[in-house]
């Protein structure tokens, strides 16, 4: 059971990273990225392919973060002319196309066969049998770092600018700041985090193929952000935890409800995900967390 707990916590860490990335892009930045899973997939593939080529896993991870950040930045260039719903469909289309390319360009990606034998970073460090625990620690460390960085960003002048752009890009333009610049940076940072999440996914499963990546990853990330409260990083981490435990926990339902087959159960699980998302939007519009403000502003005004 402990082993299973460790596995589930690792999934929580990866989901939390994806949620944090979306929280930056959508929660703070107002950019609806339905194609999140595409960037995540790209991260997994860059890290996976480079690792099996013999690059040290941590270096591959770094390249994956940079690569996804660069591509995200590029795709944000389109965003400046698009309203939110259009950006959503464009990113979704981009991700689906990316998946197609990965499926068919086998010379590069090994196509549907997938990439197997991906080595985890720092596996030699841990005593035998502690590999999973070690990897979990690594993933948790990644969450901690990303959380700290995002929290600092959110409270910085940069975070303020990002939120300002979300509220009214026209005003930000009129103040002499480049909206496109802000969006590109937001997408790039979010992309780097997604690249990190994707890499961890590849390391964790040690095998990746195109069928592992689909819009449901995007849906989970949106749920994490909506539940956690748009803009609240702490809320997102907490809700990723709850979400994954609910989803994983439901695997045990099959032992408790004998009348139901696994396929019915899977359907019920995902049905509840959908209904839960809508219900949360309706009944808990602000989620459970609160958006951080720029730190100094808080500090100064509390002097009164």
């Amino acid at each position: 059971m402990t082993v299973y707990l460790i596995a589930t916590l690792t999934l929580v860490a990866i989901a939390a990273l994806a949620g944090l990335a979306l929280n930056l892009q959508w929660g703070m930045g107002g950019l609806v990225n339905f194609g999140l899973f595409g960037f995540y997939m790209l991260g997994a593939y860059i890290a996976g392919l480079l690792t099996v080529q013999g690059l040290p896993p941590l270096v591959a991870l770094g390249v994956a973060m940079l690569g996804v950040a660069a591509l995200s930045a590029l795709s944000a260039l389109i965003s400046v002319r698009l309203s939110e719903d259009y950006l959503a469909i464009v990113t979704l289309g981009f991700a689906e196309c990316l998946r197609l390319v990965i499926s068919y360009e086998g010379w590069l990606t090994r196509g549907m066969l997938g990439v197997s034998g991906i080595e985890r970073p720092l596996q030699a460090w841990w005593p035998r049998g502690w590999g999973d625990t070690g990897f979990l620690l690594l993933a948790l460390l990644a969450v901690l770092i990303v959380y700290t960085v995002l929290q600092a960003l959110a409270r910085s002048p940069f975070g303020r600018l990002v939120r300002a752009t979300r509220d009214d890009p026209g005003v930000v333009e009129a103040l002499g700041k480049s909206v496109l610049g802000v969006r590109v940076r937001v997408f790039a940072i979010g992309g780097a985090i997604l690249g990190l999440a994707g890499s961890l996914h590849a390391f964790y499963y040690s095998y990746i193929d195109p069928t592992q990546f689909g819009p449901i990853i995007t849906a989970y990330a949106f749920m994490a952000v909506v539940v956690g409260g748009r803009g609240s990083n702490r809320g997102v981490v907490a809700s990723a935890f709850t979400l994954i435990f609910l989803l994983e926990g439901s695997r045990f339902l099959i032992d408790l409800v004998p009348g139901l087959g696994a396929s019915e159960l899977a359907a019920i699980r995902l049905f509840l995900v959908g209904v839960g998302l809508v219900a949360l939007l309706i009944f808990k519009p602000d989620g459970f967390g609160r958006e951080p403000r720029s730190a100094l502003a808080d500090k100064t005004s509390s002097r009164f």
Partner: protein, 252 residues
Amino acid sequence: MLEAVNVSVIYEGGFKALNGASVQLAAGTVTGLIGPNGAGKSTLFGVLAGAVRPVAGEVRLGGEIVTQHGPAWRARRGLARTFQLSRELASLTVLENVLVAQPHMRGENVLSLLWSRRAVRDEEDAAIDKARALLQRVDLWKLADAPAGTLSGGQKKLLEICRALMLDPRIVLMDEPSAGVNPTRIGEIVEFVQALRAEGTTFGLVEHNMGMVRLLCDHVYVLAEGQVLTEGRFDDVIANTEVASAYLGAQS
């Protein structure tokens, strides 16, 4: 300083919002734009600020042709504006609304956040001091921590003015700054503008409060149907019967 020459704006669907209008904002003066609703005043402001691109004509800023440059570019060259309908950043606090306008913040550069944290903090402290001075002047400092979306209409107008001034602009375009503002506060706006003009700031003003226009404006343009009807000193313009009939409705 800032001028629009023969600009025309046609909105999709054929509506001619501006039809060859020319205005000139001389350095260090306050220029008023008056005229009935829908005359094209706000559109002309949009053109001057770069938010609306004209189909014909050009815009010059300090002698340079800037027609092709967007609002951000012009803002970086010292052109600030407020909007007719307040556009506060609703989820940001009042203080943040003003701080966000501070130009050249290194803290907005992600890498500087990492490398020069000290400089970022000093910069932020300086910006807060500057914002406090502005907000205190319009009596909004007490609300510094409130989300801007919760302000009243008049307070939002004042907040917009503070935000524009935070840019240390050379030119300020103010679109109906007095609309919805408590009459006692209007006096403060007037003082504000006069003080800054004395320091050399140029102002453009769209305003329906004629008292304010008379007090502030060195030069007045009257717009109607997208064209400049007449221009001149306020009292001269007011004396013009055509203007009176177009706008003031006062039978002289």
